[in-house]
């Protein structure tokens, strides 16, 4: 695997291999010194054109835990504000010979384009409403730890699917792992034709009880102005996942940040069946596994430069 651009491009085996790797990093995380020397001397760039808390901080911490040098660029305050194009920004950062560029961008396909412009491995940390593969991997990881296997499990993704890259990546990842996925939301927020991806679509929570896992999506306030829904009040009344609609056997997930009292009730968020905090914790180890897989795992193609071959993978478990 040279890049991580879209869940769509990963086989079930590739997903499982990353998750297995993440398991071993979870073990490292329980030690006093949580750092391994795997990426010592190599550089990871994070390039964020959109605001982010979880994704950017966990990728940055993941790079540091692997002993990489980190350059963290945010569009705000950088040359991007002076009108530098994505291509030129990538060329500039590539001059530092990074081993990986982790990019978040407001438009679909940005990570894929960057992969064509740099020798570095590219990680898509969210491209527009298209994909967010590391989120899908951490969600599958979180579920796998709870359920063992996703095979045959029923997962409902509830809310604003139209504007959600998480919904797209997770739909594909969950299906790839053998789960049956149902998308649920108001007709205005379910993209026309998405059922062709092999999922069920419903516009009511009536049958939510059949779900093993309920994955709620963030409902953004700006959706009201575009007439997607008449009011947050009506949205919450119709689509909020709360303890009344949720049964105790079901697991609850959310990519964050949550709008308390909109897509999820406060008590649902704080209930024992909620995996939301676990998802965040999984984010770190899964992103370590992604960087490891791309930069140190398997056969490294010599794309980074022939004269200076990548250092041999250091066995996990040796603190730096």
């Amino acid at each position: 695997m040279k890049h991580l651009l879209a869940i769509e491009q990963l086989s079930r085996e590739e997903i499982e291999s990353i998750l297995d790797r993440a398991e071993s990093f979870a073990e490292v995380g329980r030690r006093d010194i949580k750092k391994v020397p795997t990426l010592r001397g190599r550089t990871v760039v994070t390039l964020f054109y959109e605001s982010s808390t979880r994704t950017s901080s966990s990728f940055e911490l993941a790079a540091k835990r692997l002993s990489a040098d980190l350059i963290s660029v945010k569009a705000a305050g950088s040359s991007v504000e002076k009108g530098e194009s994505l291509k030129d920004t990538v060329a500039t950062l590539s001059a530092y010979d990074p081993a990986a560029i982790v990019i978040r961008h407001p438009y679909a396909g940005a990570a894929q384009m960057v992969a064509g412009w740099t020798e570095a491995a590219v990680v898509n940390a969210g491209d527009g409403k298209h994909e967010h593969p590391s989120q899908a991997l951490l969600d599958v990881y979180t579920l796998r730890r709870r359920l063992g296997s996703l095979e045959g499990k029923r997962i409902w993704i509830v809310g604003d699917v139209l504007h959600s890259r998480v919904a797209r990546s997770n739909l594909i990842a969950f299906q790839q792992m053998g789960a049956e996925v149902t998308l649920c939301g108001p007709p205005t927020l379910i993209p026309r034709g998405i059922e062709q991806l092999g999922c069920a679509v419903t516009h009511a929570l009536d049958d939510l009880g059949e779900a093993d896992v309920v994955y709620a999506l963030r409902m953004q306030h700006e959706r009201m102005s575009d007439s997607f829904v008449p009011s947050l009040r009506e949205y919450a009344a119709t689509f909020q996942v709360d303890s009344r609609r949720l049964n105790p056997r079901q697991l609850l997930m959310h990519p964050g940040p949550v709008n308390r009292g909109v897509e999820l009730s406060g008590e649902a968020i704080d209930s024992p069946q909620s995996l939301i905090a676990e998802q965040v914790a999984s984010g770190l180890v899964v992103r370590m596994a992604i960087l490891y897989e791309l930069l140190a795992g398997g056969e490294r193609p010599s794309a980074v430069g022939d004269g200076d071959a990548a250092p041999a993978a250091t066995p996990i478990g040796q603190p730096a």
Binding site: L86, G109, G128, P191, L197
Partner: protein, 449 residues
């Protein structure tokens, strides 16, 4: 009137050519046989029996095994002049047209600034007379500066030589303004060409709304954003007995609306572009804006089939490229941010021959007819190979395979939707308005004197 009378081009001596043993196909003129085509002083003098044509000092082109068609006519190109000459200008655009076998093109008015005054039209016509190797006509905008609110001085513009009117690039949002333009057309003539799109429905979209856009998370442009506007304007044109031309039809629903309007007697014509006839939105999965981002967007297979059916039954009377040159800076960005538009003049015939004729989807005769069908909607005589006609000839090798872009482009821009594709069928020589406008470099000419 013929292309040379209504359109402008660089004047020169009429060609004297003998195309020996060419397979001549002009379905409208009822010609389908091997002939020696004798061109004297820019006119088709004679279609002689093979081997009987007299050179009389004319240049002789051995055309055995090659096809001669009436040269093509494109009613929809963007020459980016004035204002964006770094993308294209009248001279380079006309060269691209010549390389594609065209003998006439009509340039859109959405330049910077838009072509909204008689002085703009006069200046462009002057440029065409200075450097266009293919007769070029110019539309003026319907509304001043394409503001969608006030009409341009349509009478004045027509007197300056505007062939017709279009705000192409933008729809005319207001039904009131649309209706006024159609009423005013009675005074000044000139077909009104329409980019049909309801921005209320398409706003924010970058590709066709369907399963692919759902999977990619890219905002969709629904088919009904096009068909509902066509329905509105067909109704208005019928009511005002006006003449409209619907540009770049893309959706099955739109073909239906045009078909119904024609059946109801509305004076409406329609065009379809090679990319809509050859490709679907499945291409957008590549997220490549260079080749696959345009407006209207590539739609689904059912839409493509409906357009082909429209070509067959005449609902769509012509192929138009919507040749839209852009520089790399506007395309080397993520799909949603990239400029809309692809070039098409140099590849239109070859692409349609490869994708529609060779697999047997449509006949060669139908393609040849539709490639020149864009003249009549603008009051221009269809190019013909009948003796006595002004010489407008596309000489093609239908067996030639070539990879698009390998040898560069005549156009100043490279955003061809065919870039990198291998096509079968190539234009070797184009005669436009009686003059040789193009010869493929690698095509060796036997010259006799």
């Amino acid at each position: 009137m013929s292309t040379s009378e209504l359109l402008d081009y660089r004047p020169g001596a009429g060609a004297d050519l003998l195309l020996r043993r060419a397979t001549v196909l002009d379905p409208v003129a009822g010609i389908d046989a091997v002939h020696d085509i004798v061109i004297r002083n820019g006119e088709i003098a004679e279609l002689a029996a093979p081997g009987d044509g007299q050179a009389d000092g004319a240049e002789v082109i051995e055309a055995e095994g090659l096809h001669a068609f009436p040269a093509f006519f494109d009613p929809h190109v963007h020459l980016r002049t004035p204002g964006q000459e770094h993308k294209e200008d009248v001279e380079t655009g006309a060269r691209a047209a010549a390389a594609g076998g065209y003998c006439g093109i009509i340039a859109m008015a959405n330049t910077e600034p838009p072509v909204s005054t008689a002085a703009d039209v006069t200046a462009l016509r002057e440029q065409a007379r200075g450097g266009a190797v293919v007769p070029t006509g110019f539309l003026a905008t319907v509304t001043a500066g394409m503001n969608g609110e006030e009409l341009t001085e349509m009478v004045d513009l027509r007197e300056a030589g505007a062939l017709g009117f279009s705000d192409d690039g933008l729809p005319i949002r207001s039904a009131r303004v649309m209706r006024r333009a159609l009423q005013y057309q009675r005074l000044c003539g000139g077909t009104i060409a329409l980019h049909e799109e309801d921005p209320e429905l398409s706003g924010g979209g970058a590709m066709h709304e369907g399963a692919v856009s759902a999977a990619l998370g890219i905002g969709g442009i629904p088919s009904v954003s096009e068909s509902t506007m066509i329905a509105r304007d067909a109704a208005l044109a019928g009511y005002e007995e006006a003449r409209i031309h619907v540009q770049h039809l893309s959706a099955a629903e739109s073909v239906e609306v045009v078909r119904a309007a024609k059946a109801a007697g509305v004076q409406i014509s329609a065009e379809a572009s090679p990319h809509h006839l050859c490709l679907t939105d499945a291409e957008v999965r590549s997220l490549d804006p260079h080749r696959f981002k345009m407006n209207p967007p590539l739609r689904e297979e059912r839409d493509r089939q409906a357009l082909i059916e429209g070509l067959r039954d005449g609902t769509v009377e012509c192929v138009a490229t919507d040749h839209a040159p852009h520089q790399p800076e506007e395309k080397d960005v993520p799909f949603e941010q990239a400029a809309f538009g692809v070039t098409g003049l140099e590849t239109a015939f070859a692409a349609l021959h490869t994708e529609l004729v060779l697999p047997g989807t449509i006949g060669l005769g139908l393609l040849v007819e539709r490639m020149a069908g864009g003249a009549a909607p603008f009051g221009i005589e269809r190019p013909s190979l009948a003796p006595g006609s002004e010489a407008n000839v596309a000489l093609c090798d239908l067996g030639a395979e070539w990879t698009v872009g390998e040898e560069g482009y005549e156009s100043r821009s490279e955003n061809s939707w065919c870039h990198g594709r291998t096509l079968t069928g190539r234009v070797l020589v184009t005669v436009a308005a009686g003059q040789v406008a193009f010869r493929l470099r690698s095509f060796s000419l036997g010259v006799a004197s």
